[in-house]
């Protein structure tokens, strides 16, 4: 039964390789046949690139755009889309009391400066530490640091969109996105907050980001395949992408009082982390499934990364515990968006429920056809190297427990 304290979703902002805006992404997913991939720029790695964006649509001042690196621009832009969608953008009173939790790891290095130092390291007889100091001191753009700092995505959202009730930034790959939504929703449910902006963004089009994953041999190097089917392909199974996902969460009473459109009701988020052996991972997934009731949902939207071991564990868990529930691995379509993996899966589930349409299979035989439009959808994130999170979403008038 719906209650005034339910947490509901009233705004969705999406920006991915498939397009801009919640509706465009939903339409692209419904008609999905193949991903948008750039195979040239970072060969032998492919990335799901961002489309051409007119940043001034959400970040009007050129000066603000220049102060950001790509991940911050994506996030600030997507946050603006979510606020617009919720009908909160530009409402000074609502923005000034709005809480914000951003999942952001951040950090984009200046490739030219780094390359300059590496070049110097090879040819210099000088102490390399001294040479590094000299290049950094003379070559680093003074404001680059602010475009790298994790909490400055939230800072830019405050500056551009005037969201100032509170500002917290969580870090740590998929886990940060899970915790961000979990904490924002728990605060609303407990009356510590009435409305919150929560989400994440990621720029996959940067060699330093690829380097982080490839240090553990996680990147796929052959042809694209759906996330569930990458074991036979050369490399580690992950294809990264660029994109962002932001949500506006509200208490049902707050949303109804201002006449907001309600996408769906968000249940309690369950999350855990521990040793990543198959046995321990499975035990945690089983416990989270029992807490959330995910196996009873009509559909499961998964943000499985494609990373071979963790995705195999997730696949086996789903086959064993939710064999009759149709699963959709949305990373097949969007690419891996690190901190945004859980938020974007929640957004897709919300769109499916509000449209009253199922999400068709995204190319894998593991994804069976749905028999009906779902009225409850489970979201599952098994982090590529740590963290697991689950939640069940129900239709707008559904109960939140």
């Amino acid at each position: 039964m719906p209650t005034p304290d339910d947490v509901v979703i009233t705004g969705i902002g999406l920006l991915t390789s498939l397009g801009e805006g919640a509706e465009a992404n939903w339409a692209a997913l419904r008609g999905f046949s193949a991903p948008v991939l750039d195979r040239e720029r970072f060969a032998p790695y492919a990335v799901h690139p961002l489309p051409e964006i007119d940043w001034s649509q959400q970040i009007p001042k050129r000066g603000d755009q220049r102060q950001m690196e790509a991940w911050q621009r994506i996030g600030t832009y997507t946050a603006g889309l979510a606020l617009d969608d919720a009908g909160i953008k530009g409402d000074e009173a609502l923005c000034a009391t709005m809480d914000m939790i951003v999942a952001a790891s951040g950090g984009e290095r200046d490739v030219d400066v780094d390359s300059m130092i590496l070049e110097k390291a090879g040819e210099s007889d000088e102490d390399i530490g001294i040479a590094i100091n000299q290049v950094l001191t003379t070559e680093l753009r003074p404001t680059l640091f602010l475009a790298q700092l994790s909490n400055l995505l939230a800072g830019n959202i405050s500056i551009v969109h005037k969201v100032t009730g509170s500002s917290r930034t969580f870090m740590g790959e998929e886990g940060s996105g899970i915790s961000a939504i979990q904490t924002a929703a728990a605060r609303i449910r407990a009356g510590q907050s009435t409305h919150a902006l929560v989400g994440a963004s990621y720029n996959g089009e940067h060699p330093d980001m690829l380097l982080g994953f490839e240090l553990a041999h996680l990147c796929l190097r052959g042809e694209w395949a759906p996330v569930w089917d990458r074991e036979p392909i050369e490399g580690g199974g992950m294809i990264t992408g660029s994109g962002g996902a932001f949500l506006v969460l509200e208490s049902r009473s707050h949303a109804e009082a201002r006449g907001a459109k309600i996408y769906c009701t968000l249940g309690r988020i369950a999350a855990d982390q521990g040793p990543v052996g198959t046995q321990q991972t499975t035990a945690r997934l089983e416990r989270l499934a029992a807490e959330t009731g995910i196996a009873e949902a009509d559909m499961i939207v998964s943000s499985a990364s494609g990373a071979l071991a963790r995705t195999a564990d997730e696949k086996a868990f789903l086959a064993a515990h939710a064999p009759s529930v149709p699963v959709r691995g949305i990373t097949s379509a969007f690419g891996f968006l690190r901190d945004a993996q859980f938020p974007i899966a929640v957004a897709v589930a919300a769109l499916s429920l509000s449209h009253g349409e199922d999400l068709p299979p995204l190319g894998s035989d593991f994804e069976t056809q749905a028999e009906k439009a779902p009225s409850s959808i489970g979201v599952l994130t098994t982090g590529f190297c740590a963290a697991e999170g689950m939640v069940v979403l129900t239709k707008a008038n559904g109960g939140g427990e």
Binding site: Y45, Q67, M100, V111, D114, S115, L118, G129, I132, N133, Q134, L136, T137, L140, T143, L144, F145, L146, Q148, L149, S150, N151, L152, A154, G155, S158, I159, V163, T164, G165, S166, S167, R168, T169, F170, M171, G172, E173, G175, S176, S179, T183, A186, R187, A190, P207, D208, L210, L211, G212, L215, A216, H217, A271, D272, Q273, P275, A386, A387, G389
Partner: protein, 427 residues
Amino acid sequence: MTRFTDHAGRPVIAITGAGVVSSLGAGKEENWAKLTSGQSGIHTIRRFATEHLRTTIAGTVDFMTPAEAGSGALTYALAEAAALEAIREAGFAIDDFGGPMFLAAPPVELEWWQRLKLDEDGRKAGGTAPGYDRLLLAARAGAHPDFFGSTRFGDVAAKLQTRIGARGLPITLSTACASGATAIQLGAEAIRRGEAERVISVGTDGSVTAEALVRFSLLSALSTQNDAPEKASKPFSKDRDGFVMAEGAGAFVMESLESATARGATILGILEGCGECADDFHRTRSKPDGSPAIAAVRAALADAGAGTDGVDYVNAHGTSTPENDKMEYLSLSTVFGEDMASIPISSNKSMIGHTLTAAGAIEAVFSLLTIRTGTLPPTINHLNPDPAIALDVVPNVKREADVRRVLSNSFGFGGQNTCLVIAAQPA
């Protein structure tokens, strides 16, 4: 309001364990003895080459890990030391804490020694030109499991979770220089929601590197008074010229007072309130009227159910930058009015420097010790007061005082403002 609930009917939060490491030393005892005697931990940097750098001083912690282990290893070691001290004091098993963890930690990236090693490996693997293609080749060609850990933002939390047996998915957070306070705030909120009977909140920062110094220097944030390192950090002085980067960690174990009392724990103090407000003015500068900082202070007092007349001492953010100290004075004098002249306020950063991500947690520990010992730590290097800042900064020498309630301020880049109210246990 009962013994176990506060003015808003929420669980009262007891602090039952505290731990700290700074450039002054490891542990509360050593830190407090040195801090109250006005000793500085700021020194000339010896850990790495400082040629070409405008600032060559810092409050680095050089006694925890070998220099070559890098900043990730130090950040973890600092967090572990502070967390273990807090857990031991609270009387829990150090490997089975059993509550959730909130960790304020600096953002991570591969360090230069790691990039250079990868470049070398890439050259051996046949890479021709230096650059990211060669680094990626090295990554593909060899095994670098430790380097992978250095790129993971959740790595320190995952290791610490395993070490202390924290429950659930740990939260790693960054609200810039307010991070340590935010970690405590998140923990307090979780107890108030009834999600946990006990939590551990940690702030840690071991990230003083040449590149970090360059980054802050380019923003003109650092003191360049390199000649007398221990005198460079001079909050609220007329000749202050920036903060001094530093390292350290602070930790609190917090519990519902009810649960702490039931198990017979020693109650060290009460976390009464937290308040925050974001600033939308500028990435590094505060709104000129100080309104976000004012709102954060007021929100913390309201959350604590305390009036402006109930604060006995303020643990300042007090970074020693021209901008911060002026803004902090403006906001406090706005909130407290004429009373502010008689409320002592001091800056720990005059001695330990600005420990960045850890600062809010370390200063919360020192705020607690102020209450418990009745000693106000001084603001050292206060020889040339800024006439525009009329505050009782406890200049240069500690002072004895009966302190029942402390306001601890944290303000950071990106418009972050978080304040904590810490109080003595009600009699």
